[in-house]
């Protein structure tokens, strides 16, 4: 299937809020997109009364609402209902639905820790660092799944470290990264630790690491870090800031204030658990 998908232009008065993403859904296609791409974010109570009201009344799809209710009555599991919703709305092709089915299968087979990690990884990817850390902690300290592998634990600590780095909590990040290295013993983690120390400027490279990595390798990493740093200084946000200095004092002040409030807002979002 390729071409144009005709949309039913229903005027949704009350969009459906998705707290995890901080957005709202306005159309049936967006609902499909959300289910398909964020299925691991969905809690067991996702199919609830407000969602049924949104589908039946706001999206003007009473037949689908009725069908979901019937499936709930028949004790169908959530995965089956989600699949049925996607099939009914026809936003995804058969091939795409096949991929989704595989994902649902994985979720069915995966243990709670794996599912929770997937969700935490998603939050990390979306820069919701505090939320991700919270989830990683709950997995690490969780009682339900004592049989976690060394690899899995390492990955948890690594990703938690990345999240702390995102919040500029370098010490905590370093602590997690060291634990991750202990479990995984991968060179790229050492490189990340090296970069972390470079960024913070205050952290000392752990002694064990200094011994583990030859000076020549560290020198190459330093060069790579410097190049990257320069690049970041003159692109994206660095460039935005740089451009402000070229403006007159009044505009510069207003620009800095605006940029600061924007960064603060972004940080608040990252730190919100």
């Amino acid at each position: 299937m390729s071409g144009l998908i005709l949309c039913n232009d229903t005027n949704v008065k009350n969009p459906y809020p998705i707290a995890e993403l901080g957005i709202s859904l306005h159309t049936a296609e967006e609902l499909c997109y959300y289910i398909y791409n964020y299925v691991f974010l969905l809690e067991s109570d996702f199919i609830n009364e407000p969602l049924l009201y949104f589908i039946g009344t706001e999206l003007a799809m009473p037949k689908l609402e009725e069908k979901i209710r019937k499936w709930i009555m028949d004790q169908s599991d959530m995965a089956q209902i989600l699949f049925m919703i996607l099939q009914d709305i026809h936003y995804y092709s058969e091939a795409e639905l096949g991929v989704f089915k595989t994902q649902l299968e994985w979720m069915r087979r995966a243990n709670p820790s794996e599912r929770a990690k997937k969700k935490a990884d998603y939050l990390l990817q979306k820069r919701k660092y505090a939320g991700a850390i919270h989830l990683y902690d709950s997995i690490i300290g969780g009682e339900q799944d004592k049989g976690m592998t060394k690899e899995f634990m390492g990955a948890l600590y690594h990703n938690k470290g990345v999240a702390y780095a995102g919040l500029f909590e370098a010490e905590k990040a370093l602590e997690c990264m060291e634990k991750a290295y202990e479990s995984l013993e991968r060179e790229e983690i050492l490189k990340e630790i090296f970069f972390l120390c470079q960024i913070s400027g205050e952290l000392e490279l752990p002694e064990a690491m200094m011994l583990a990595v030859p000076a020549e390798q560290q020198f190459k990493w330093k060069e790579e870090f410097d190049t990257l740093y320069k690049h970041l200084m003159y692109s994206g946000k660095g460039k935005e800031l740089e451009e402000l200095w070229e403006k007159d004092s009044i505009r510069r002040k207003a620009g800095i204030q605006k940029l600061l409030s924007q960064w603060k807002q972004e940080y608040r979002e990252m730190a919100k658990s």
């Binding site: 299937m1 390729s2 071409g3 144009l4 998908i5 005709l6 949309c7 232009d9 957005i23 709202s24 859904l25 306005h26 159309t27 296609e29 967006e30 997109y33 959300y34 026809h90 936003y91």
Partner: protein, 420 residues
């Protein structure tokens, strides 16, 4: 209270009003007053000196004749070229004058029929000019007549509706109309094209070069000349055609005694009808049809002012591929508008199929959407709005709508006009 179903024909020389009588199911002409024998209202306007009073029609002539006011004529032509008229030192736009005229002419059926509820009004013009039609819409908006109750038509369309509202035996083969007025001699020919479903009824219009000023009919020699001209036109146009009926209308045929030779020819083995207000009555039939849930005329009506091709798009809907018709052949171009939203699925191009009603080849119109922001597949929604600038020109606007709050719209719009 009776709801008004009106057909109003506005020409540069005369305007006529017709209303659809729900009791008789016929369109009937309406004069200025009950005693008024003629239903033709001269399309002139006159402002009384020193007052704010305006007169139209015969009253306007009277006012000007007695030197009580300044008269302006040819209001449609003036509005079409966005002209002005200066009265008592004040410059009035043609729109202003047409506005006053239309308000006053609409007051006639209100007074005569005792109702100010307009259920459906069809304004007829010789040709549909967007400027003039926009003025009419503005006036009716001002008068509180709902937009959906106001429609526009040209003479070919109103003739078509007038004829197909008559008994089928009158138009089973071909039918024609001669319209003789101060503005010219017009010939309309209606053909029923068989073998298609729905049946196609087509009207071709020709403005004849032989048109003459009605002033020549004031002398016997002029009458004879007029008769000769019309007879030769009729012989040329009707030869070897199975014309079931011939209609005559316009000021020139108000009294058709002068055209004895012409009448003899057209009445030979054909049924001929002469009378004023044919276009207004056709418009009144259209007005009645507009309020019906299902049209009483299950035909594709092809004529000037109507689309000759169907515009459609190939889309996916509920998992199936189907043809989405944006505008059908035979629709009034002024009213043929469509809007639809689509999600782009592995494509960056919109294709519109143009399917002519006749035997012409199907063609494609394409719009590239490269200017729109790049997003993952299926996360760009576009709104397509199609409207017509004339019967052969379509204007398509494509608006980027993004994909909800996942991918907010950048607000870009692409507009392309195509000759079809």
């Amino acid at each position: 209270m009776q709801e008004l179903l009106l057909g109003i024909d506005i020409c540069d020389d005369y305007s006529q009003i017709s209303y659809f009588n729900p009791q008789t199911l016929e369109a009937e002409n309406l004069g200025l007053t009950e005693d008024e024998s003629s239903c033709m209202v001269p399309t002139v306007i006159c402002k009384e000196k020193g007052t704010d009073s305006w007169f139209i029609g015969e009253e306007a002539y009277r006012c000007a004749l007695y030197g009580k006011g300044t008269m302006v004529d040819k209001l449609v032509k003036l509005a079409g070229k966005k002209g002005t008229a200066t009265i008592e030192g004040i410059k009035y736009s043609a729109d202003d004058l047409l506005r006053i005229f239309i308000k006053q002419i609409l007051a006639i059926p209100v007074g005569r029929l005792g109702s100010d509820k307009f259920a459906s009004v069809v304004f007829a013009f010789q040709n549909k000019s967007a400027d003039v039609m926009d003025t009419v819409i503005k006036v009716t908006d001002e008068m509180g007549i709902p937009r959906e109750c106001v429609h526009m038509a040209n003479h070919a369309e109103t003739y078509l509706f007038y004829v197909i509202s008559q008994k089928k035996e009158l138009w089973i083969n071909q039918s024609c109309l001669f319209d003789l007025s101060e503005t010219g001699l017009h010939y309309y020919e209606l053909n029923v094209i068989r073998g298609r479903k729905p049946q196609v009824v087509e009207v071709n219009h020709e403005e004849l070069e032989e048109g003459f000023s009605l002033e020549i009919l004031e002398t016997n020699a002029g009458k004879k000349l007029g008769d000769t001209i019309l007879s030769s036109c009729a012989e040329r146009l009707l030869q070897r055609k199975v014309m079931t009926s011939v209609f005559l209308t316009g000021k020139g045929f108000e009294d058709s005694q002068w055209a004895a030779g012409f009448l003899r020819f057209v009445c030979n083995k054909r049924r001929a009808f002469s009378g004023p207000g044919l276009f207004a009555r056709g418009a009144a039939y259209m007005a009645y049809d507009h309020i019906q849930e299902e049209t009483s005329y299950p035909y594709v009506c092809l004529c000037e002012g109507r689309l000759q091709s169907t515009i459609s798009m190939q889309v996916w809907h509920e998992g199936r591929e189907r043809q989405l018709v944006l505008a059908s052949a035979g629709s009034d171009w002024y009213e043929a508008k469509a809007a639809a939203s689509f999600i782009l699925d592995n494509t960056n191009v919109l294709e519109f199929l143009v399917t002519p009603m006749g035997n012409g080849r199907q063609s494609k119109l394409t719009i590239q959407l490269d200017e729109f922001p790049a997003r993952p597949n299926k996360t760009t929604k576009v709104e397509v709005i199609a409207a017509f600038l004339s019967e052969s020109k379509i204007s398509i606007r494509v608006i980027d709508r993004g994909f909800g709050e996942f991918f907010p719209a950048a607000g870009q719009m692409i507009r392309q006009d195509f000759q079809i």
